[in-house]
């Protein structure tokens, strides 16, 4: 349910191309075959009463409120389950139908509380609406037994379950099955005893429920209701915006009461999410108004000093003065900035513009450095563009899905649900992962192959897959000959066919049985449409870029590109990874991935920006740290990124931050990096600003201001003020003007405008004269390289320098969990901590037994870089020899132990491979104790400086 109700057609749309014509209440209507009578009627404005039907799930035909009569037909069929047919004549309203409906409603209401005036759904209740629609005026029954005293389940922090209001329509059960794919709910019992039951009659929190909200969304009464609505009443207006969590980029309706967000409701028209959501986007928005928000600018001379609140003018002036001082003292190249995937496109664009044109150097980088920079490099080299090839909906045409180093149900849950839907329809699944992810065995989903490789051996594995495809002649030579660079293919074919790339030869490296790998390769190459989805388990390795290239080789060799159901699909971690890269965040590339030394592009930007630009690449993030310790990089402007928690070898990062003379942090909280800062600009959350995000499928979606910025300014305005203070003028009055400039200067964005985004809801780049409404699938006719041909590249396996030894016998790998997001700055400040309140170390039972470790024990994790302590979780989800943890809590110090190894092409850190030893301990590590003291001191310095008005 939601305010300003979106039209509900009752049943899903049919995709059948055949059209049929029928008559409903005397009106002729034409609809695709397979459409329900209910939907066909709704399409011409005839609303047939309904309760158990809604257009996000398949019809069920249980409430019988939607009955109709068909001329010449028998009885009164349910219109939700009756398909249209040529020549049908339907009557939706007459006395007989009205009597039946009134009788049904009378029965429902006889076992329903008559507390409408005090009910949380008053005014937004379909049962109430239907009572009105059928003209119910009395209830004649006096039931002996009812469900009115059924106990509420308040266990979930975000919604309540009140079975006394339940009409057992099964919409929640079906939404959990069809939309989410978790199957956590069922109807338990029969007849009068029928009731909605999470798992085995458990409460919601103890059940398998993942709190995606699909059941709440589907419920037609107040049975499943957001607690925020119960507490605050119904919202009164709604604004469509885009989620600021993962790279799926779900569209939401921010439902408001004044400037207060009451609830976030997934937008049915959202093309990335089609009305679905996850626990983060749907419910975890409370951080935006958390008490930890800092809303006044602050400065201090040293990180040993207390913060001092100042006016915006003073903060901006001080920051600019410091940056200029540093440039005078240490040179023009001694300052730079870091953008974030949490920023909008427009914010990122003007940030890199400030650095390139205002600072006069190219020392700009972004957090994609530590996640998907190898994707940008690998796909640019092979396909000619640094992006995934498909839209999300493409998965619904896939015949075989190959997931490598990704965990979609946790990291990209809404797309994970769509993928599960396709898998339940029969698509085959191959998973390449050292760990058992949920998709390997989910309800009605079972992977055909789980290639449980050893961490760091991705490239050996992808080469072995390629070897099978080449030597067993499973290639799509026609595609290769027509679409690819044949000379590079011939070279690759010779290389990959070499014996050392065979599954048998690589088995000792990867640990994957050769026969299983051969079977998986055959399945991918021969099952029809083969789609590859991958995540940070591919990129965050010393050979991350090589692996991306290997994936591209495989897709080209099998012709799995340029059409629906196939492709190479990087699942981006944060909401705007794609966009922040598109907008020129890398130190060697202008917006649109054009090298800073390219004369034509250089001239274009110099002219447009009216500035002399540097044609040399600037420093990447890890290079900035090294340069800081070398005293050649002394000032940093960091927006929306928390490098002091998220980057590897954190002791090195902290030392570099301490070495800098001016660190400016722009964020909504005093994050870990801000504890090393000298200037703090209070940022605005995604609810407080206008802009756009670009998701993993290149979809540019609107971000809209639904409340005033708590600190007075949107983030882009702050950057603009700093630029003006630095002496480089910027005079944008709205982010739409920034997007206009981006479109003017970036060929793949040439057709993008706010007007178009508003009109279409979203648009996928490339969007230009060739594709004025965007490009769902790329490379359909030719690749975007200069010669239009896909390039095969050689991918020799090179073992990582990070080796297991007797001293460090286990490999630590890292990942994320559904309820928490990245460094946790947002989700740790929400009720999501109810699911995950600390990072734990997963360890296989054999390794745990060897060390006398039990679940819940404190264990020390020691690597060549450092040591930290976590509590253990003994689990056979990890294989022997491998341990695993998440990195959502700063006190965990996960990055104390990660090393400075990185991808050869991009310096993306090798987070996924750290040799460690595990021992049972009784206290936190020395680093944790020191950092805890430092952190407390910093919070004290904050407390001393802030006013509490």
């Amino acid at each position: 349910m939601s305010i300003n109700k979106e039209k509900d057609f009752g049943t899903p749309a049919s995709t059948n191309e055949k059209m049929v014509t029928l008559e409903i209440d005397g009106f002729q209507v034409t609809a695709p075959a397979g459409t329900s009578v209910m939907r066909a009627a709704a399409s011409i404005g005839i609303e047939i009463p309904k309760l158990c039907a809604t257009d996000s799930i398949e019809p069920f035909g249980s409430c019988r409120l939607c009955v109709v009569q068909i001329e010449g037909g028998r009885g009164m069929p349910a219109s939700c389950t009756t398909p249209v047919a040529d020549g049908l004549k339907i009557t939706t309203q007459n006395k007989k139908l009205a009597d039946v409906r009134r009788g049904i409603m009378e029965l429902y209401i006889s076992d329903h509380p008559l507390d409408c005036l005090t009910c949380s759904a008053n005014g937004d209740c379909e049962l109430q609406d239907m009572a009105g629609a059928v003209g119910l005026r009395e209830v004649r029954y006096n039931p002996i037994e009812t469900h009115l005293n059924a106990a509420k389940d308040e266990s979930n922090p975000y919604f309540s379950f009140d079975p006394s209001k339940c009409i057992v329509c099964s919409r929640c059960v079906r939404a959990c099955e069809e939309t989410q794919g978790t199957f956590a709910l069922t109807i338990d019992g029969r007849g009068f005893d029928s009731k909605v039951s999470p798992s085995q009659n458990q409460d919601f929190m103890d059940s398998e429920c993942v709190s995606c909200g699909a059941c709440v969304q589907a419920c037609p009464t107040a049975t499943l209701m957001e607690k925020s609505v119960i507490d605050n009443g119904l919202p009164e207006h709604a604004i469509v915006t885009t989620c600021a969590y993962c790279g799926v980029g779900c569209s939401f309706r921010a439902e408001m009461k004044g400037e207060q967000v009451i609830r976030m409701v997934p937008n049915k028209d959202g093309k990335a999410n089609h009305g679905h959501s996850c626990v983060k986007g749907r419910f975890a928005f409370g951080y935006a108004t958390h008490k930890d928000r800092i809303t006044k600018p602050m400065i201090r001379a040293s990180i040993k000093d207390a913060w001092q609140e100042v006016s915006w003018e003073e903060a901006i002036s001080h920051a600019a003065s410091e940056l200029k001082r540093i440039q005078t003292k240490y040179g023009k190249d001694s300052i730079g900035g870091i953008t974030s995937s949490r920023c909008t496109n427009e914010e990122v664009y003007i940030m890199q513009k400030l650095i390139r044109a205002g600072f006069g150097n190219n020392n700009v980088d972004t957090c994609a450095r530590v996640c998907h920079s190898p994707t940008g490099y690998g796909l640019k080299q092979t396909f000619g563009e640094s992006s995934g090839t498909q839209d999300f909906d493409s998965v619904m045409k896939a015949d075989v899905i190959l997931i490598i180093g990704a965990n979609p149900t946790d990291g990209h849950p809404v797309f994970g649900s769509q993928m599960k839907k396709r898998l339940r329809q029969g698509a085959k699944l191959i998973v390449v992962d050292p760990r058992e992810i949920d998709l390997i065995k989910a309800p009605h989903v079972k992977a055909s192959h789980h290639l449980k490789l050893r961490p760091s051996t991705n490239v050996a594995l992808i080469n072995a897959l390629g070897h099978v495809i080449v030597t067993e002649n499973l290639l799509d030579e026609a595609f290769v000959n027509e679409r690819c660079d044949v000379a590079s293919f011939a070279k690759w074919k010779t290389f990959i066919a070499q014996e050392h790339n065979s599954p048998e030869a690589s088995e000792s490296i990867t640990g994957v049985p050769a026969a299983e790998l051969r079977a998986a390769a055959r399945l991918y190459a021969t099952a029809g449409n083969g789609a590859i989805y991958y995540g940070l388990g591919v990129t965050e390795h010393s050979q991350g870029s090589t692996m991306v290239i290997g994936i591209a080789n495989l897709a080209m060799a099998t012709g799995n590109l340029g059409h629906d159901g196939a492709g190479v699909n990087p699942l981006r971690g944060q909401n705007n990874v794609q966009g922040s890269c598109d907008m020129g965040s890398f130190p060697h590339e202008f917006p649109g991935y054009r090298h800073v030394s390219d004369p034509e592009t250089h001239q274009l930007f110099e002219k447009a920006w009216n500035a002399e630009l540097n044609a040399e690449p600037g420093l990447r993030i890890p290079n900035m740290f090294d340069a800081a310790l070398d005293k050649s990089f002394m000032g940093l402007y960091c927006e929306g990124e928390d490098i002091a928690q998220s980057d590897p070898d954190i002791k090195h990062v902290h030392a570099a931050l301490r070495a800098m003379e001016c660190v400016i942090v722009q964020d909504i909280f005093l994050n870990e990096t801000a504890k090393f800062a000298h200037v703090f600009f209070p940022g605005s959350s995604f609810l407080e600003k206008n802009g756009t995000f670009t998701n993993a499928e290149r979809r540019i979606s609107p971000v809209r201001k639904v409340m005033s910025p708590l600190a007075g300014y949107q983030d882009w305005e702050v950057t603009q003020m700093l630029s003006n203070a630095m002496g480089y003028p910027m005079n944008y009055s709205h982010p739409s003007e920034i997007m206009d400039e981006i479109a003017q200067l970036t060929p793949s964005f040439a057709g993008v405008s706010y007007e178009k985004i508003d009109r279409l809801g979203s648009v996928q780049w490339p969007c230009n004269d060739e594709a004025p409404e965007g490009t769902p699938i790329m490379h359909t006719e030719h690749f975007l390289r200069d010669n239009g041909k896909g390039l095969f590249m050689l991918t020799e396996f090179v073992p990582t320098a990070e080796r297991v030894t007797g001293k460090y016998p286990l490999i630590l790998t890292t990942g994320r969990i559904l309820s928490q997001y990245n460094v946790g700055a947002q989700t740790r400040r929400t009720e999501n901590v109810a699911w995950h309140s600390e990072d734990r170390l997963e360890i296989h039972p054999h390794d745990a037994e060897d060390r006398g470790v039990n679940t819940g024990d404190w264990v020390g994790i020691k690597s060549r870089a450092g040591e930290t302590v976590l509590r253990a979780l003994v689990s056979d989800r990890v294989q022997p020899g491998v341990v695993y943890t998440t990195f959502h809590f700063p006190e965990s110090g996960a990055n104390v132990i990660t090393t400075d190894n990185s991808d050869w092409a991009t310096n993306c850190p090798e987070y996924k491979v750290t040799a460690v030893q595990i021992t049972k301990v009784s206290q936190t590590s020395e680093w944790q104790q020191e950092y805890s003291a430092f952190s407390e001191k910093q919070l004290d310095l904050l407390e001393q400086g802030i006013s509490h008005d």
């Binding site: 010393s542 870029s545 990447r620 290079n623 090294d626 400075d900 050869w904």
Partner: protein
């Protein structure tokens, strides 16, 4: 800047291009990669190291770095 991380980075780049059978193409690939992605101060350091000694660089990388122009 410390030279050790730069040597490692350069050798890692070399390892990727090492599978190219034509070593001229491989050396040019390394040179271009460093030229297009390394800040000038990093290039200056590795060039200086190569000119002084360069012993920790692989042969292929040494060839490539020696062809880098001083920024």
């Amino acid at each position: 800047m410390k030279i050790e991380p730069l040597i490692k980075m350069a050798n890692d780049i070399g390892n990727f291009f090492n599978s190219e059978t034509d070593k001229e193409i491989a050396a040019e690939g390394i040179r271009k990669h460093i030229l297009r992605s390394w800040d000038p101060r990093m290039r200056r350091e590795i060039i200086a190291y190569c000119q002084q000694d360069g012993a920790a660089l692989s042969d292929l990388v040494r060839t490539a770095v020696s062809r880098l122009e001083q920024a």
